[in-house]
Structure formats: C-alpha cells, structure tokens
Subunit: 240 residues, 2 copies
DNA sequence: CGATCCTTTGAGAGGTCTCAATTCGCGTGG
DNA sequence: CCACGCGAATTGAGACCTCTCAAAGGATCG
C-alpha cells in the first residue's frame, strides 16, 4: 500500500465554511477541525477495510469512493458510491462494516469519531445534521433494497442511470449526461448483476437511441422518459 | 379501514421510563410525551402508507410490524420487520417512503416529528440517540443489500434464520427457537425470493435436522453451526 | 507500440420463477 | 365436537432470466 500524504486541515475562525459542519457555530468545533486530517488517496487504493478498527468519520472532498462488502468467498456487493460533500463511516461501531476504495484520485478528510461524538453533545445542530445525513443514506438504502430484491436487469440499469442523473443534478450538473468513473464490474456489483449482464443491457439502450456512451465513462441521456419507464417496469416490448 | 383506538400516553415525572427516550432527562421532554399518541392496530391493518404525508415517528410497543415498498406493478420488497422497542418512520422527509403494516396485533406510539426535531436541539443526548438508532438501521440495511444482491436462496434463508435468532437473543430470548409471525410471502419479499422458493429451501433444512417447525410460526434451531455455514456460502454438498 | 485491463459478445448451464394443483392449518359455524 | 371453508403452505413441472465460462475486441498508459 502506498504511503499517504496527510496534512492538518487549516483552521478558520468563526463560522465554519467547509465540510459537513458548514454554517454551524461553536468554539469547540475548532477542536474538531484541528484534529481532522486531510488525506490524498490514489485510485484503487483502499481507504478503510471491512473489519478494520476505525475511529474516524470520512468526508469526501474530491473524487469518488466506492463502498463494498464481501462474502467469505469473495462475492462483492457495492453498497454505495460517495461523492464530494458526502460522508461515510458514520455507520460504524468499533469495526468498519464495509471497505472504502478510491475509484478516482480522492481527497478525504478524517474526523476523529470520539471527538465528533463529544461535540455532538455540545454543538447545537451537529447531531441533527449527522442524523439528517444518516437518514438520507437510509432512504437510499431502502430504495436500493427494492432494486436488488425485486427489479429485473433492465429495470436496475435504467434505475441506476436515472438515479445517477438526479444525483448529478443535485450536485449542480445538467442531468443530460452522467459521469461514471466506476467500471462495469463496479456497476454490476452495485446492482446485483454481473459485468456481462451490465454490458448486455447497455447495448439495446444504445441501439434504441435512449443513451449513448462517450469515452467509456460518460453516459449521454437522450430519452429520459423512456429510462424512467424502464426503471419502473414499464418495459412494453423492450427486449435485449 | 377500521377506526383506531387512540389515547394519550400517561405522563411520568422526572426521568423517562418508557420509550426510546428512556433515561433521558429534560423538562421539555414532557411535552413530547404529552403530545404522543398510543394507537392499537389490528393485524393486516396499514399504519402508514408509502407516499402518505406523515408527521410522526412511530415506536412499536407491542407486536410486529413489517415495512415494505412496492413497484408500480405491485412487486413488493419488505425492507424490515420492527419489534417492540424499535422505531420506524425516522427516515421520512415529508412523505413516507414505505408502507408499515401490522403483522400481529400491534400497539404503537406516535411522536410528532416537529416536536421531536425541536426537542432534539434542546435535550442533550436525544439527537444522538436517534442517530444511534438510524445508524443501527443503516448497518442492517447494508447487510441486507449484500444478501439481496449476492446471496443464493439457501444462503438467504440461513442468514435470515441466524439474524432472527440473534435479534431474539438481543430481545431476551434464548436463541434456540425463533418466532416468525410473518407469512412465507413476507419472508420471500424480505429476501427477494418467492413464497415457493422459501418453502423449497425450508424442506431440506428440516430433512437434515438443522431446524424444525412448530405450529407454522416457530422455527426450532437444532444445528446453529450448519446454519452459519450455509449463511456464509459454505454449502459443501448441500442440495435441495 | 506493446501490455494490460476493461468491455463486449457468444453459447450453454443453472438457479429461481411462473403457473398450477394439492395439502395443510386454523377459525367458524352448525 | 366435528364439518366446513378459506387462506397459507407445500409440491410439481416447465420456462426464463441471469450467470458462468470462454474468447475476441477496445481503450489506456507507459
């Protein structure tokens, strides 16, 4: 494993301007930022490993991270992709419950959990903000359970594209195309499919002009309505 | 829908002795308990419906509740079973994201969300407690994603039994048998399987003496080790 | 410009589903 | 107390979707 470049995060006075605690006030928040560590991670590098003891909550500042769990025999389930501004590692109690791996070059900030827990009791709004983040994650997870348990391959892929487009819009994009830095295998492991099935489903989507691919990593969305129909099981004659 | 019996929850002085806020202190908590409503629900009755506007967080006091989501064409994914002492409805923002339905006769307590949010800022530890609950739910959800996306039918059923037994122990049971008030269809919809497959997988488990069924609703566990092996994909020769 | 990894495409196997019928369990009413 | 009726559970046979295994075709990077 590569050596990591780490550095202390610069302290700013008064109202926080960075990170998930942005806008919160409280002198003791300074402690949190003083104790936080910035870390650069190369693609494919593992940030934390399932089962590791970890005393940190991570915030992605740059790049994309994938979270996954493994079965004892190596099957993999990607539980989420994390983009800048989002946290991961909240749902830990002692040991980390998933592996976090950088997909692109990534910058993360580590917040010591003990300090965070301590501050949650002191800083008004901090615990609520963390609760809100956990809640949003929970909603996503429940939607994903429906997808994994009850949707077909086509529905899964269409749902994935629609959701990624919506996320992109939420992050300030225009929703007409999405950037997918992850591999087909990652997408498959996120949707409960194999790499091959992901490819096989993409083909008719391209053939029918619903989407097109650019540079392997960009999906251009031509027919958003059809995607939503497919995502909802309205396949009326769609075959692949 | 049946008329509901509702009643105000009795106020107790000083330290809270009931509910998820047990042990917390704070005069304003009284407001929460004064505003909470106790409600009895018959089996099969729907407590809240996916998409409904709901301004409450629910605590199950008695009985078992199932939470599920539906696809537009009626496929169902059960996202969880809720037992006494657990909350649901935390992950809502405006509209409810799943349907909650009573499996057994159920008693729930409704807490007004607005009041809860307000108190979270005032009562030390309340937001953290809610965060802890959400976090535990999140861990469960991630484990379930691995199950739904990557496990076989046998692994799913074995995992389910093991997890239910562990939950039963956590609630004070002995773990040698579990009570399953839900139907095979509910179990199937929880595991991403059909009713028939659930039955078909149970048979060899009984044949091999790993479990036995009593009164349709109780699973007696004879060989916990084998179940754990099966849950982890160690099927060495297990066929059905 | 070679090497490697990723993606695509193909053919066949297999696990789970669908559809259908039977059996079982339990509450109801005679 | 027993027969009935209805929903749930089980069992069976065949279909289908996705996976597995395999090979060829691209893309990227040194």
């Amino acid at each position: 494993m590569l050596a990591l470049r780490t550095q202390k995060v610069a302290r700013s006075g008064g109202v926080r301007r960075i990170g998930f605690a942005e806008g919160l006030q409280g002198g003791s928040l300074d402690d949190l930022f003083l104790a936080s560590v910035r870390r650069s991670v190369a693609p494919r590098e593992i940030i934390v490993c399932e089962g590791d003891r970890s005393d940190s909550v991570f915030e992605v500042v740059e790049g994309v991270v994938k979270l996954y769990k493994l079965t004892p025999d190596g099957r993999r389930q990607v539980t989420g992709f994390v983009y800048p501004g989002q946290l991961f590692g909240l749902s830990q109690q002692g040991a980390c419950i998933y592996t976090a791996e950088a997909i692109t070059p990534v910058v993360v900030v580590l917040y010591p959990r003990a300090k965070l827990d301590h501050l949650a009791a002191l800083v008004p709004g901090l615990a609520q903000r963390m609760l809100a983040l956990a809640t949003r994650e929970l909603i996503t997870a429940q939607e994903q359970m429906l997808l994994l348990g009850r949707k077909t391959a086509v529905e899964k892929i269409a749902s994935f594209i629609v959701a990624q487009a919506a996320d992109a819009v939420a992050r300030g994009g225009d929703g007409s195309s999405i950037y997918l830095p992850m591999t087909r295998a990652d997408i498959g492991d996120y949707l409960g499919l194999t790499t091959e099935t992901v490819s096989r489903v993409f083909k008719p989507l391209k053939t029918r002009g619903i989407v097109s691919l650019r540079q392997q990593k960009y999906v251009v969305i031509h027919d958003h309505t059809s995607l939503i129909n497919l995502a909802n099981g309205n396949l009326h004659g769609f075959e692949y």
